[in-house]
């Protein structure tokens, strides 16, 4: 039976320290009734997936503004698949050009959210994904 609680990991991989968006999204998800595990900065794909396994997370959200999104998302997806979390949602946000968003979708990453996105649309997206992917 699917847990009524949606559990979300939020993390910033690599060297980018701009965490305003990640923190604001974390607060919004909590306000919307989800459980957030906020890992913070300087995470590695390994540390993120390890936490996802430990927490049995439904969703992993990456925040990347430094331009290193393709390599980070690719690596996290690979590790999630290997750890048996291939059916979970990998999403995120930051500064990710449209053409790269398409590449990410090709890798099996979900929708990603850029500058100016409304908080509610992020909440709705995760809730919508969760209800159609009940475990």
């Amino acid at each position: 039976m699917a847990s009524p609680h949606i559990k979300v990991i939020i993390a910033k991989p690599g060297l980018d320290g701009h965490d305003r968006g990640a923190k604001v999204v974390a607060r919004a998800l909590v306000e919307a009734g989800m459980e957030v595990v906020y890992l913070g900065l300087q995470q590695t794909p390994e540390s993120i997936v390890r936490a996802a396994v430990e927490e049995d997370a439904d969703v992993v959200g990456l925040s990347i503004l430094s331009g290193a999104h393709l390599s980070h998302f690719r690596r996290v997806k690979e590790l999630m698949d290997r750890a048996g979390l291939g059916d979970r949602l990998l999403t995120g946000g930051g500064i990710i050009p449209t053409k790269d968003q398409e590449k990410l979708r090709g890798l099996g990453v979900g929708r990603v959210f850029g500058p100016g996105e409304d908080l509610q649309s992020i909440v709705d997206y995760i809730k919508g994904w969760h209800s159609s992917h009940a475990r």
Partner: protein, 547 residues
């Protein structure tokens, strides 16, 4: 004051139909429809306002302000390799910029070399890559460092980036005493907002006071620190929080230097500040004026500085990066212009104007040229630089300045109650205040209580981003790692080892570390090698993530 006339207007106002909008500042401050002498009762013009260049400096830090010298037009820049960045500096100087400002890439900002595993995918993307003094040589080739001031936005490894800069100046036979510029070097706001640290607070603070002492003797024209609010504001704080947290950090640095045995007048004249200039026009101007008055009073009355230059809150301003939109990016030019105007009316000493494409990428040549021309139009066409503190005496501005000052004082008290800035950081006080303000603003945007043109109102549905965006090529990383490798092979590695050992030894004691860092820099020790050496003594910092 004619009370009957005021009552008449109040009556009329109450009867008026108002727009469906919130009449508050971007920080959430309730605003009155009108400000009158009643809002500044008993305003002591001599004590509260004074004159420019005189205590409490509300009207400006210099007697002649922009009539004597315009603010420095200093565009923060850096991209890819040192050569690419040097070319951008030449471009900007040729177009009338009057000061240099260096943006470094993420690995450099964290004290890592370009070939570090964490640097993969990051080299040259957010600024220029610097690994050794050789990169300083390339970066500043053909640039007149003895004639123009240079600002470097670097914090965690600031001390050794600075000594690499000095080593290059020595090599070019430029006397250190002739060098003018600023090092950001403000670690406290890193823990609070920008998040670029290496060690825990105490060792970083020691490096900062070491640098202050070294510069007082050897590089007297250098601003040793740029105590910053910009990043705190970018992280989502209100104007009052930006003001209060920045000055609180400043007081903490002063107290640290005093505890280290320095004389206040030996280092205070070379402390400088860096504020944001955000969208809410009048609030920003008032914030900057309040900063000057608060700092002057504290330095004079609490810390007993005798030299009037110790009382000065001199600052650089950057227009708010977080106010720029990826949607309809051309209109960012207007946002930047208004923000720049506020910075000038607030009396800044130095100004950076953002480029229209900066929500998307590092600025293109065309975009940064427009940003620079924005400053030139303000300086030479708008007329605002002809008169000092032109908004001084406005009931609104003086009331707002008073209010911001009061709000800052309340925050200082709370920080004191928590045991000072470092304790407050460990308890997540600043971080939580900032995130709360950021979240409130985001909710206000969601609910259209605050408008962002092109984003939640006046949206062009289905717009495609068409402006040319600067791309950093992947070859930058290969080039940089190859040069670093060559340098490591060609340098005197025995000398490097022995100087790093001496540095490590000194770090375990209480010697001033700057001369040791300079020695290591001269023989081409790398940024990462120096960081690693110091980590052995100081350890690494791991933050508790608050949100």
């Amino acid at each position: 004051m004619n009370k009957a006339a005021k009552k008449r207007w109040e009556e009329q106002y109450r009867k008026s139909e108002l727009r469906d909008a919130e009449f508050s500042s971007i920080s959430g401050r309730e605003l009155q429809p009108l400000y009158t002498p009643d809002d500044v009762p008993g305003f002591d013009v001599e004590a509260r306002l004074g004159y420019p260049g005189e205590y409490p400096f509300t009207r400006g830090v210099h007697p002649s302000m922009y009539r004597g010298k315009l603010w420095t037009m200093r565009q923060f820049s850096g991209m890819g390799t040192a050569e690419q960045t040097n070319a951008r500096y030449q471009f900007l100087l040729a177009r009338g910029q009057t000061g240099l400002s260096v943006a470094f890439d993420n690995p450099t900002l964290y004290g890592l070399d370009s070939d570090h595993p964490l640097a993969v995918g990051e080299v040259g993307r957010t600024g220029v890559a610097v690994d050794t003094m050789a990169d300083m040589e390339r970066l500043f080739r053909d640039l007149p460092l003895e004639k123009i001031s240079t600002s470097m936005t670097i914090n965690a490894p600031a001390a050794w980036i600075f000594t690499m800069f000095l080593a290059n100046a020595e090599k070019r036979s430029i006397p250190l005493a002739a060098l003018r510029g600023t090092l950001q070097n403000d670690i406290l706001k890193e823990y609070i907002a920008q998040k670029e640290w290496i060690f825990p607070p105490e060792p970083h603070l020691r490096l900062i006071t070491d640098l202050m002492a070294f510069c007082a003797d050897h590089v007297p024209q250098w601003n040793t620190i740029s105590i910053s609010g910009y990043h705190i504001r970018e992280a989502g704080s209100t104007a009052a929080q930006e003001l209060a947290f920045t000055l609180a950090d400043g007081f903490c640095y002063v107290e640290h230097a005093l505890r280290a045995g320095m004389d206040i007048d030996d280092f205070a004249p070379r402390l400088s500040f860096f504020f944001n200039s955000h969208l809410d026009f009048f609030e920003e101007i008032a914030k900057l004026r309040a900063a000057r008055r608060i700092w002057a009073r504290r330095l004079k009355e609490r810390y007993k500085a005798k030299n009037p230059r110790s009382w000065l809150c001199r600052f650089h301003v950057q227009t708010a990066g977080c106010s720029l939109t990826a949607q309809q990016p051309e209109i960012n030019v207007v946002r930047t212009a208004l923000e720049a105007l506020a910075g000038v009316l607030g009396g800044c000493q130095s100004l950076h104007t953002n480029s229209l494409d900066e929500a998307l990428a590092l600025p293109s040549e065309k975009a940064v040229e427009i940003a620079l021309r924005t400053q030139q139009i303000i300086a030479y066409e708008s007329g605002v630089a002809q008169v000092i503190d032109p908004l001084g005496g406005s009931y609104y501005i003086e009331k707002l300045t008073n209010d911001l000052e009061q709000e800052a004082e309340q925050y200082f008290q709370r920080v004191d109650e928590l045991g000072g800035v470092v304790m407050a950081i460990e308890q997540g006080f600043f971080q939580r205040e900032i995130t709360r303000a950021a979240y409130q603003y985001q909710l206000a945007l969601s609910r259209k209580k605050k408008i962002l043109v092109g984003v939640n109102e006046f949206v062009n549905a289905g717009e495609a981003i068409e402006i040319p965006v600067l791309e950093i090529d992947e070859s930058v990383e290969q080039d940089q790692t190859r040069s670093l490798d060559k340098i490591k092979k060609r340098r005197d590695n025995l000398a490097v080892q022995s100087r790093l050992a001496a540095l490590q030894q000194a770090a375990s004691g209480s010697d001033n570390l700057i001369p040791h860092l300079l020695e290591a820099s001269r023989v081409h020790a790398s940024v990462g090698e120096i960081s690693d050496t110091l980590v052995k003594v100081f350890g690494e910092y791991r933050e508790r993530p608050f949100y």
